[in-house]
């Protein structure tokens, strides 16, 4: 495992530990309803502070059950995770295409078309609607390629 991957794994492990520890240590045991939402607790606190307060508006749509609600939350997370994964996958594919084109450049001398073709087609299916994606803007592309070539090498010397 590279040093980079190790650091990333460590970051994820600490996040997981932070989430699991309160459960493992039973920090919710003193509560009537352990690990309820903070917003529900705030509602309780409001009724304590002002017993006659009644919410004056109710949600237009309320998930009919806890199951449906958790499904919708999972949907929200899945949408976000999908877009993030798409972004990083696209970037990785482009990077590979670029380096392949660069390697090919030594041989046949016309790599540019190849790079753009492989970079452009997935961009057309981008998730954000109503916007034209032109990731092959001239200045940026050159900088990207340059940065990328020296990037990993620099990382390794850094480690």
């Amino acid at each position: 495992m590279s040093r980079n991957a190790k650091i990333n794994t460590l970051l994820l492990l600490v996040v997981a530990a932070l989430a699991v520890l309160p459960l493992a240590l039973g920090l919710g045991d003193h509560k009537e309803e352990p690990f309820a939402g903070a917003d529900a607790q705030a509602e309780t606190a409001i009724t304590e502070l002002k017993p006659d307060y009644k919410p004056w508006f109710s949600p237009l749509y309320e998930p009919p059950s806890g199951e449906v609600e958790s499904a919708l939350f999972a949907l929200q997370a899945a949408l976000g995770a999908g877009v993030l994964a798409y972004y990083f996958g696209l970037r990785r594919g482009r990077r590979q295409g670029e380096s392949r084109a660069l390697a090919g450049a030594a041989g046949n001398g016309s790599p540019a078309d190849d790079t753009q073709a492989s970079g452009d087609s997935p961009a057309d299916a981008a998730p954000a609607p109503g916007s034209v994606l032109r990731d092959d803007a001239p200045g940026r592309d050159a900088g990207d390629t340059a940065g990328r070539v020296s990037g990993p090498a620099g990382d390794r010397t850094g480690a």
Binding site: A17, P22, D39, A42, I46, L60, G143
Partner: protein
């Protein structure tokens, strides 16, 4: 966790909506300008919004024995500046208010003010301040995201305390009460959010160097020796962030 539907008195709900509106309008303009000037950034904008979507859907247990969720607004604020994050955050809040009955339409203004305005600005401010004083990139990113997350829930506590002052101890008593519910619960979550934001920023540095340079997150030293030192700097920074996390975790335990 946002203020639930109908749980702010009408006057407060209206006041926070009025306060939030100019920021949202300004944000929409900034977003349009960004997309027009740099169409290639749309993808990264989508990714920043997606990060907020994921993080604000995850309700995570905390040391207080209750659950809350991170906001994910630090990343977008650092990448695209706070006004644009205001729009992305408000969209997320709207989604949750309409479909999940989480937060609400009457409290949208107040919730947008805390999560989509104060959070991004506070986090961005801390990030810039640290960067300017020479703090390594990843450490600055961590504290930027940490502050964006925590300040959001401090504002939520203030908003509720203003609306529901304690009959005997007044505003401060209520602030202590709501702060105990929201802000204290949020501390370990803010640490998690800081770490996750550092993780995503590390992946972005690997994958999108050109874009980060254009956005000013990475220094524009894309050539020769300067670039090498730049990379070394970030590697050292992540090392430092890693060590910090170690101590943080120890404290949490």
């Amino acid at each position: 966790m946002h203020i639930a539907e109908g749980y702010l008195p009408p006057v407060h709900a209206a006041a926070w909506s009025v306060a939030a509106a100019p920021f949202v309008i300004h944000g929409v303009r900034a977003l349009n300008r960004e997309v027009k000037a740099h169409p290639e950034s749309t993808l990264l904008l989508g990714a920043s919004g997606a990060f907020t979507f994921v993080l604000s859907a995850l309700k995570i247990p905390s040391v207080t024995g209750s659950c809350s969720h991170p906001t994910g607004t630090g990343l977008g604020a650092i990448l695209f500046r706070p006004p644009i994050m205001t729009v992305l955050g408000t969209i997320t809040l709207l989604f949750q208010a309409l479909l999940l009955a989480h937060g609400g339409l009457t409290t949208l203004g107040a919730n947008a003010f805390s999560m989509a305005i104060v959070g991004p600005w506070a986090g961005y401010g801390v990030y810039r301040l640290l960067r300017r004083s020479g703090v390594p990139l990843m450490v600055s990113v961590f504290f930027g995201a940490f502050v964006a997350d925590l300040s959001t829930y401090c504002v939520t506590s203030v908003q509720l305390a203003l609306a529901f002052p304690d009959p005997s101890s007044g505003f401060l008593g209520a602030l202590a009460k709501f702060g105990g519910i929201f802000a204290v619960t949020q501390i370990p979550l803010a640490v998690s959010e800081g770490l996750l934001t550092v993780l995503v920023m590390r992946l972005l540095i690997q994958s999108s160097k050109g874009e980060l340079t254009r956005l000013g997150v990475l220094l524009s030293g894309g050539r020769g020796a300067k670039d090498a030192t730049g990379t070394e700097g970030t590697t050292a920074a992540t090392g430092a962030a890693g060590e910090q996390d170690g101590t943080k975790e120890a404290v949490a335990r």
